[in-house]
Symmetry: D2
Subunit: 109 residues, 4 copies
């Protein structure tokens, strides 16, 4: 089982044990994802652009970034589950599509 | 190799073949992720909440949702790679942490 | 009448003339606002941080940024109207509150 | 002076008194706006869609929503100021443009 599948199983179990499935319509889960993206943005907003990666390699920012990115991923996995979309398959297809649209050497000019 | 690792490898290769790594500081990738979350939101914004899942099971919305969710995932994987964070490990740890903070039966009251 | 009030009146009239009020529950309007924030982010995502302001002073980016910022503002005004919140009053109160929380000379250290 | 102009003057003064202008490049301010949109989303995410407006009319949610919407507005005003865009003028022009694109009776079908 791939790790996205494993995470989906755990997200399902977590939600079922708390009877939270009833809250998980697509628009609600999407707003929850937006909330987590906002928390991630708050970690980086005032960092100098060119130093952000270096600063994010230090604690406590490193752990905080990992947590907020995890929250984004977990809500994305939940949304995909609610919509019965296989994220791994969809993402591989999208990468292949991107490769066709932007061949190596492509430039926007 | 897990599917998040596989996607990360493909994202790396895609970026390297186009010499796009130079654009991938954390704040830029984060804004790109915000852009994709916005496109995902636009698909669902005016759907009736209780009918959104059913409507999203039909084409063309189903494919569009899968594409936008894939874009969110791919930028999240790219951001994790830039920050040298292992998303699968971080997400499993966050789920375990959530389970401690919200034991089954927990209510916000 | 202040310009936020004037914009609210025009947003109301625009919506009423198209019978769009029925779509304007808070979560839907909020997702529409997220969509516009995403479009704004897409304009800036790959610009070098230190050159972004200068580049955004040139057309066509200048007009595009004004349009996307306008869309964000118009959905914010619509959301405030749906929630019967006076944005100008609320924003002045929030600025006064911020001034108390962050006195001049305050630092996060 | 319109209320958007007045708010801009106060935002400028607030920032100048704290010497925060140096942090206010467009991408940083945009990420701060994303952070506030995320906080606004968190207030509404789990509310039932059809009851959200009624629930948001009650305290403490009413005040919380006003505060988060104010933060979104204040960062939008700051971003417009950094970009030297007149928000009120831009929003009126966008509304006129929308009226042309979506004449009354327009439907997406």
């Amino acid at each position: 089982m791939g790790d996205l599948d494993e995470l989906r199983e755990r997200v399902r179990q977590f939600s079922a044990e708390r009877d939270w499935d009833r809250f998980h319509d697509p628009k609600s889960v999407l707003l929850a994802l937006v909330g987590e993206v906002g928390e991630l943005a708050e970690l980086f907003q005032w960092l100098p652009a060119e130093a952000a990666a270096t600063m994010a390699a230090e604690e406590p920012l490193r752990s905080r970034a990992g947590e907020e990115m995890s929250d984004v991923l977990l809500y994305l996995i939940l949304l995909a589950d609610v919509l019965e979309i296989d994220l791994a398959t969809a993402a591989l297809a999208k990468l292949a599509d991107n490769a066709r649209r932007y061949p190596p050497g492509w430039s926007p000019g």
